[in-house]
Symmetry: C2
Subunit: 266 residues, 2 copies
């Protein structure tokens, strides 16, 4: 597949979660032009049905194509699980999702092959993670756990404290009991809860998220084009109002100023 | 305003919450034909901006008008707070929201005039409740509290237990400290958390929700037409998939079978 515009990279998510992926990209691949779309008018995706998620993902992808991006990152596990194969088939630019990179990293880090996956209802129900792990290594054991309260906790700014710890215990206790040695954070919001998750699972359990592995994939995809050629820029777009997005996005990006542009919803 | 089709009553909500209002209507006014629309493809509304909520409310209302309803109930506090005046101006049928009925009931029950209001971020930020209470009685004191985790708790089926009690304590403690004697559940999801809220506030605090008061308003609006003339029916419509809606809706309606029809999203 030819790379038509390799310095322009598009990312989309239902809201803020994909910013953890953007953060990884900005570290690994500065000097590029990023286009980030947060579809916050229809947030969250993880509680919705597959064909609704596919429709939303398609619309987000087409908006980013209209910005002439040369690479598309589906920076949302729910959209990757439901729609990556659709986008790969329909689009003429490379499309990178979250699942493959996260699975690769989990398999590299797990010693026992006993792996846990956390995700939204939609991601866990899709079984995309379970299938990808078993396809890569049939000797592994996979336990998946839906965590429907994690996204609302993050989006309401609640990242630590007693309630977070109780919810983490509720969802992680079954995985701890099964003795997993690696846990995939199968939702781009979940890295914000890393502190509590790591504390509950203990220091010997590897907690894996996709952002670094995605950045590696994009760097190797770009090859010679992975050298900074511009000062770099980030353009933020949202489908709902900008005020709250800018405020929370800045927290995701360690204080960096964010000035999103509102686009008409699809 | 003429009542063109008084036996057909439309209700909409972003998802399941409005079913608490429907339940009240079915008790107070059986033998009518109800049309319930849950806009679950874009759920929730309470985290969205005002103009996005107005757009969604308008689209839901127009769908219900296409079903030839004679009365429209905005069975969602967030949509009532943001869009009731818009719908009242634009539509040619009577429109009833949640705020007025809930405020009326709270003022009737409060002895001290020290009233608390719970709602979504959007409802609390709109200040619609605060203004309506003070407009009705300038001597009252109103404390409003946004409860962004309540809707996710209800939608994930978590209605009681330690986590619910901790979240209830987090949001209700400031109201308890201020000595409110009445609390308005300013979101149609919140009645599902009544047990925990009442337990935390104690038996002397009145907990008010809008559904009975709405039913009273509709009965008095219909006047002579409030007599059952048919066997009655309920037609459910959703914008996302039906399976999970039917399952959870049945729990909201005390086991009654629900068979929703999916409509194209707007």
């Amino acid at each position: 597949m030819a790379l038509s515009n390799p310095t322009s990279i598009g990312l989309f998510d239902s809201g803020l979660g994909g910013l953890t992926v953007l953060r990884g990209m900005l570290r690994a691949l500065p000097g590029h032009n990023y286009f980030y779309l947060g579809d916050n008018a229809r947030f969250p995706y993880g509680t919705k049905g597959t064909d609704t998620i596919v429709r939303y993902a398609r619309e987000c992808a087409h908006f980013l194509l209209s910005q002439e991006v040369g690479v598309l990152i589906v920076a949302c596990n729910t959209a990757s699980a439901a729609a990556l194969h659709v986008l790969e088939n329909e689009l003429s630019i490379p499309v990178i999702g979250t699942v493959g990179p996260a699975v690769r990293q989990a398999l590299a880090r797990s010693r026992s092959g006993n792996i846990g996956v956390l995700g939204t209802n939609a991601t866990v129900a899709s079984e995309v993670y379970q299938q990808a792990i078993r396809a890569a290594d049939a000797t592994t054991t996979v336990s998946a756990q839906a965590c429907p309260l994690f996204v609302p906790l993050v989006e309401s700014g609640m990242l630590r404290g007693e309630i977070v710890d109780k919810v983490v215990e509720l969802y992680l206790a079954p995985l701890k009991e099964r003795g997993v040695d690696t846990v995939i954070l199968g939702c781009t919001h979940y890295p914000l809860l890393l502190e509590s998750i790591q504390a509950f699972m203990g220091p010997d359990v590897a907690i894996v998220e996709c952002s670094d592995a995605i950045a590696q994939d994009v760097v190797s995809l770009l090859g010679e084009h992975a050298t900074p050629t511009t000062a770099g820029s980030v353009n933020y777009f949202v489908t709902d109002e900008v005020g709250r997005f800018n405020f929370l996005a800045s927290a995701f990006l360690e204080g960096q100023a964010v000035n999103a542009v509102r686009i008409d919803s699809f």
